[in-house]
């Protein structure tokens, strides 16, 4: 029996997300008194793979097959299903990111394994196997019982603390059994953003709303973000107006994020916006309306016009960065 964790890589490298997943899998394995097997698909050097051991993985199964360069969720699910069966996995942990959302449900059908998606804590109990998951866009949390022998959990990003165990892992290479022709997804083109901090990876996010009044008013917000090493985001009206790209839209129908610090500038805090940011560890609100609902979600607030407060805040950050 094992806890199996799928660790995605980005051009051969892991990131904090991968270590969070392994840390979570290690937590689950302690509850079950079993071991952690991490699965990596793609070309990842042994020096990188071995890092997973430091977060509690006992065994690393590396699958390096050129047919798997493209994410084909059908084939990925079949490869993970084959490894899960071989490793006798009882719990499978996958990120609740775009890749995880593509693979987990297909794997569920293959293994007839119930899915607990977007979990943010260790299981509440083992018998019955009960997980704590976000529902109603963060307005309620559910205790979900998974009744199948094999369970699949997708972990909400930034919801579980990384911890180093100082352990070491063995590495196995696995050649999966699949027909090359079963890869149906063809990628015609890739457009990468470069040099920007990804919203879903960022520890700090600076976000602007309608209170910014015009797309021309963004430079001080971007400057604040750059000074703090933060990603930039926006509310839905801002992306709908085309002031900022839709990739920046955080909220119920946009990106759901959980940074350590979320700075909301000129955002009133509609329910739909809060649904996307309420898991942030700290929220700072800057808004001219002292009754704006964003202040109910925030720990720190400044009542004032965004265009007046932002330059002062930028100066203050420059002062402490000296």
């Amino acid at each position: 029996m094992s806890v199996l964790v799928y660790t995605e890589n980005w051009e051969g490298k892991f990131k904090k997300l991968s270590f969070e997943l392994v840390s979570y899998a290690t937590g689950v394995s302690k509850m079950l008194n079993t071991t952690v097997t991490a699965v990596s698909i793609g070309k990842v050097d042994e020096s990188e793979l071995i890092k997973l051991g430091n977060y509690g993985a006992n065994k690393i199964i590396s699958v390096n097959n050129e047919k798997l360069i493209t994410l084909d969720s059908q084939v990925y699910a079949s490869v993970l299903s084959e490894i899960s069966i071989k490793d006798n996995a009882s719990v499978i942990i996958i990120s609740n990111n775009n890749t995880g959302k593509a693979i987990a449900p297909r794997l569920s059908v293959r293994l007839k394994a119930g899915v607990g998606s977007g979990v943010s804590r260790l299981p509440l109990s083992l018998n019955p196997f009960t997980v704590y998951k976000r529902t109603y866009s963060g307005n309620a949390y559910a205790h979900l019982v998974i009744k199948t022998d094999i369970k699949i959990l997708t972990l909400a990003q930034n919801s579980f603390d990384v911890f180093e165990t100082g352990g070491t892992a063995t590495i196995e290479h696995h050649d999966p059994a699949f027909e090359g022709s079963s890869v149906k997804t063809v990628v015609r083109d890739v457009q990468k953003q470069s040099g920007r901090i990804l919203l879903t990876d960022a520890d700090i996010v600076v976000s602007g709303g309608r209170g910014m009044k015009s797309p021309d008013n963004w430079p001080p917000l971007v400057e604040l973000a750059n000074l703090l090493g933060a990603a930039t985001a926006c509310s839905r009206p801002v992306s709908d107006e085309g002031w900022r790209p839709h990739e920046e839209h955080t909220g119920q129908t946009g990106k759901i994020i959980a940074p350590n610090l979320y700075i909301a500038v000129g955002i009133s805090g509609a329910t739909q916006h809060l649904a996307g940011i309420s898991s942030s560890k700290y929220i700072v609100a800057i808004n001219s309306d002292k009754d704006a609902p964003i202040f109910e979600a925030a720990q720190y607030g400044i009542v004032g016009d965004a265009m007046k407060v932002l330059p002062k805040l930028v100066e203050a950050v420059k002062e402490i960065k000296k």
């Binding site: 775009n98 959302k101 899915v115 998951k133 997708t154 839709h246 700290y282 203050a316």
Partner: protein, 249 residues
């Protein structure tokens, strides 16, 4: 080419969620039910594709797994412009149950393109679309923020970490769509509302399927501490609190 759009019936997104029956279910009294926002965008895009005759799309059907009380939501989809609808007459118990019911229907009636919203705003599962594709053994593309048809072939924009890919798969397939797929949800016009009355909602009795999961309790998110207000003239104090109290910068 025939499109199937899967729709979920969810509380309006501004609903204050209250619990009932000893926190085991949601209090439904007073809730306004709407088409799940991502499904509404999928439907909008499906209709836009059909409007372009060169796409070769002949019909847009919506499917819902739910009891008769969901019919107003299905009628709304018809009023927006779907040609017809299918309702699987069952109370949905979990994602597995819903996906399996939809897959059973698709096995009997051919569809070339199945669109699902990436999640529903009630259970936030993000699993039904992927499950349908695996039950049917057909390709799926997730996190789709754009879709068009070129020479009978779907061409999609798939969101990846830090970028986008232009992706294609053979028909039939499932596209699991997110924000960006359509600019704004299409709104039903009076003519559409009148026409919807005469469109058919085909009733399908459910297959016997056991759910794999069950919600046994709900709880409210932990309340946050009251906001500390800082004078707008003194942003340095905010930074000091973020450094020394919250320890986040």
């Amino acid at each position: 080419m025939k499109i199937l759009v899967c729709i979920s019936n969810v509380p309006d997104t501004t609903t204050k969620i209250k619990f009932a029956a000893g926190n085991t279910s949601i209090e439904t009294a007073g809730i306004q039910w709407v088409i799940n926002p991502w499904d509404e965008l999928s439907l909008t895009r499906a209709l836009e594709l059909k409007d372009d005759v060169s796409s070769g799309i002949k019909s847009v059907t919506v499917i819902h797994v739910g009891p008769a009380t969901a019919e107003p939501t299905i009628r709304k989809a018809l009023a927006i412009g779907a040609d017809d609808a299918i309702r699987v007459n069952a109370v949905s118990s979990d994602a597995w149950f819903v996906a399996a019911q939809i897959a059973e229907v698709v096995k009997k009636e051919q569809f070339d393109m199945i669109l699902c919203g990436i999640e529903s705003s009630d259970y936030n599962g993000s699993i039904v679309g992927g499950m349908i594709s695996e039950f049917l053994g057909i390709p799926s593309v997730s996190a789709v923020s754009g879709i068009k048809v070129e020479n009978g072939q779907p061409v999609m924009v798939r969101e990846i970490d830090g970028g986008k890919e232009i992706v294609t798969v053979p028909l039939p397939f499932v596209a699991i769509v997110q924000k960006g797929i359509a600019k704004e949800p299409r709104i039903a016009a009076m003519r559409g509302i009148m026409m919807a009355r005469s469109k058919s909602i085909k009733l399908v009795e459910p297959s016997t399927i056991e759910p794999l999961t069950e919600i046994v309790e709900y709880e409210k998110p932990a309340p946050r501490a009251a906001c500390k207000f800082i004078d707008a003239e003194n942003p340095a104090l905010l930074l000091e609190l973020l450094q020394n109290e919250a320890k986040v910068i």
